[in-house]
C-alpha cells in the first residue's frame, strides 16, 4: 500500500524579494530527507513572477523536480524528488 506524500505548505505572498527563493531553500534544507524519500512534497504559493524562474532552476541543481501551475493569478510550485 502506498501513501500520498505529506504536503509541506509555504505561503510567501506579498513578501519582499528574495524571500521566495531564500525561504524555499531553507525549508528544503530542513525537509530535504523527507522530500528525497518521497514521503513529503513542498508546495510554495507565491505572487512573485521571478520565483517561477529562480526556484525551479535552483532546486533542479539540487536534484529536485519542480512543477509550476498558475492558480487564480498566483503561482503554485510543487517540489518533489525526481
Amino acid at each position: 500500500m502506498t501513501h500520498d506524500p505529506r504536503i509541506i505548505p509555504l505561503d510567501i505572498q506579498g513578501q519582499i524579494c528574495p524571500s521566495c527563493l531564500l525561504l524555499t531553500l531553507k525549508l528544503l534544507n530542513e525537509s530535504g530527507a523527507q522530500v528525497r524519500a518521497g514521503t513529503a512534497v513542498l508546495e510554495v504559493l507565491t505572487d512573485d513572477r521571478q520565483a517561477t524562474t529562480t526556484i525551479p532552476d535552483a532546486v533542479a541543481k539540487m536534484g529536485y523536480r519542480c512543477e509550476v501551475t498558475r492558480d487564480a493569478g498566483l503561482y503554485r510550485l510543487r517540489i518533489d524528488a525526481r
Binding site: 506579498g14 513578501q15 513572477r49 524562474t53 493569478g73 498566483l74
Partner: protein, 349 residues
C-alpha cells in the same frame, strides 16, 4: 520591467546571496547596447548637450552615496524604479519603501550644506565629467573598444545559452529583450528631453511638497530646496529651462513626474492584463520595517551621490561618466552588506 522582472537590485544582490549572475549579464547587455546607441547618436550630432546635464565632477562622496544606496535597495527589496513597478503591481512593501524614499530625500535636505562641503573636499577633478574628458581623448576611443569587448563576451554567452532562462510566468518577456528595449528608451529620452532616464530629484520634490504641508517655513528656509541645479536648453525648446528639488512645478517636475506616473500605470496595466494585480497586505512586520529603512537609505543615498542606479548605470556608465563609475564602486559593497543584513535580520521563518 514588470513582465521580465528586470530587477536591478537582484542584479547586484543575487551574486552575493546565490552566486547567480544571470541578471548581471542582462545589465551588461543594457550598458553595451547603450554605449553603442549613445555613441552612434553622438557621432551623428544628435546628443545635445553632451555629456548630459546634472552630472557633477568626480568626488569620493559619490562612493559613499553609492554604498548607502546599495544597502538601501537590498533592504527595500527593489531600487527606486524597481519599487515603483512592484508598487504598480500591488505590493504594499514597495509602497512603504516609496514613502521611505520620500522621507530619506527630504531628510537629506537637513544636512545638504555639510554634505556639499564633503563632496568638494573629496573631489578628484575640478572639471572632467567623463573618463574621456579626464584623459583628454575622444569618447569613441574608449567607449567603442569597451563596447566591442562587451559585445564579444555577450555573443559567447548567447551561443552558450547563458542569456536566456525558462520562466513559467504568464506573459513573460526574456530579460535580454527588456535590456535592449530599455537601452532604446534611454536613447529616446536623451533625444527627446536632453538626458537619459532619471527620477530621484522628483522624490526630493515630492518629499519637500509633503513636508511643506506641515512646516512650510522650514522648507522655504532650506537651501537645498531653493537650489536649481538643472539649467539647460533641451532639444526642441528655444530657451533655457530650470529645475531643482524644491516643491515648485519646474523642469524637473515636467520631466520626472510623468516618468513616475508612467512606470506605475505601466506596471498596473501589465498586472491587470495578466489577472495578477492584487493588493498584498499580508507582509511580515519585519519586512515592512526593512522596506521603510531601505527606502529611507535609498532616498538619502540618491541625494548623496547624487542620482540613482537608473541614472548612473543606464545613463552615465555607457558614456563612462566618472560620477557613475564612483557610484558603482560604492554600490557593490553596499549590496553585499545589504544582503548580509537581509538574511540575518529580515527574511526569517
Amino acid at each position: 520591467m514588470h513582465r521580465s522582472d528586470f530587477c536591478v537590485t537582484a542584479m547586484f544582490r543575487d551574486p552575493f546571496l546565490f552566486g547567480d549572475t544571470f541578471l548581471l549579464r542582462m545589465l551588461l547587455l543594457l550598458v553595451v547596447a547603450s554605449m553603442a546607441l549613445f555613441e552612434a547618436a553622438r557621432a551623428l550630432g544628435l546628443l545635445s548637450p553632451y555629456p548630459f546635464p546634472l552630472l557633477g565632477p568626480p568626488s569620493l562622496a559619490s562612493v559613499a552615496g553609492g554604498f548607502v544606496f546599495g544597502v538601501g535597495m537590498v533592504l527595500a527589496g527593489g531600487c527606486v524604479v524597481g519599487t515603483l513597478y512592484k508598487l504598480g503591481a500591488g505590493s504594499l512593501a514597495a509602497g512603504v519603501a516609496f514613502l521611505g524614499m520620500l522621507a530619506g530625500s527630504a531628510l537629506y535636505a537637513e544636512g545638504h550644506a555639510e554634505w556639499t562641503a564633503v563632496t568638494r573636499a573629496t573631489r578628484l577633478h575640478d572639471e572632467a565629467l567623463t573618463v574621456a574628458q579626464w584623459l583628454g581623448v575622444p569618447p569613441a576611443m574608449l567607449i567603442l573598444p569597451l563596447a566591442g569587448l562587451g559585445a564579444a563576451l555577450l555573443y559567447r554567452w548567447f551561443r552558450a545559452g547563458r542569456m536566456t532562462r525558462p520562466s513559467h510566468a504568464l506573459g513573460h518577456i526574456q530579460p535580454w529583450r527588456a535590456a535592449l528595449i530599455l537601452a532604446g528608451v534611454g536613447l529616446f529620452s536623451w533625444l527627446l528631453v536632453g538626458m537619459p532616464l532619471g527620477i530621484t530629484t522628483a522624490y526630493a520634490k515630492l518629499g519637500a511638497q509633503v513636508e511643506s504641508w506641515f512646516w512650510p517655513q522650514h522648507v522655504a528656509a532650506l537651501a537645498f530646496f531653493s537650489a536649481q541645479p538643472l539649467a539647460y536648453q533641451p532639444p526642441f525648446v528655444d530657451q533655457v529651462v530650470r529645475g531643482g528639488p524644491g516643491p515648485a512645478l519646474d523642469a524637473v517636475a515636467a520631466i520626472q513626474y510623468p516618468l513616475i506616473v508612467g512606470i506605475l500605470l505601466g506596471a498596473l496595466a501589465s498586472a491587470l492584463c495578466l489577472g495578477e494585480f492584487r493588493p498584498r497586505w499580508r507582509v511580515p512586520r519585519r519586512q515592512l520595517l526593512s522596506a521603510l529603512l531601505g527606502g529611507l537609505l535609498l532616498g538619502l543615498g540618491a541625494r548623496m551621490v547624487p542620482g540613482c542606479n537608473i541614472w548612473h548605470l543606464w545613463g552615465g556608465l555607457p558614456i563612462l561618466a566618472l560620477q557613475s563609475l564612483l557610484f558603482l564602486l560604492g554600490l557593490v559593497p553596499g549590496a553585499w552588506l545589504g544582503s548580509r543584513l537581509l538574511t540575518r535580520f529580515v527574511i526569517r521563518r
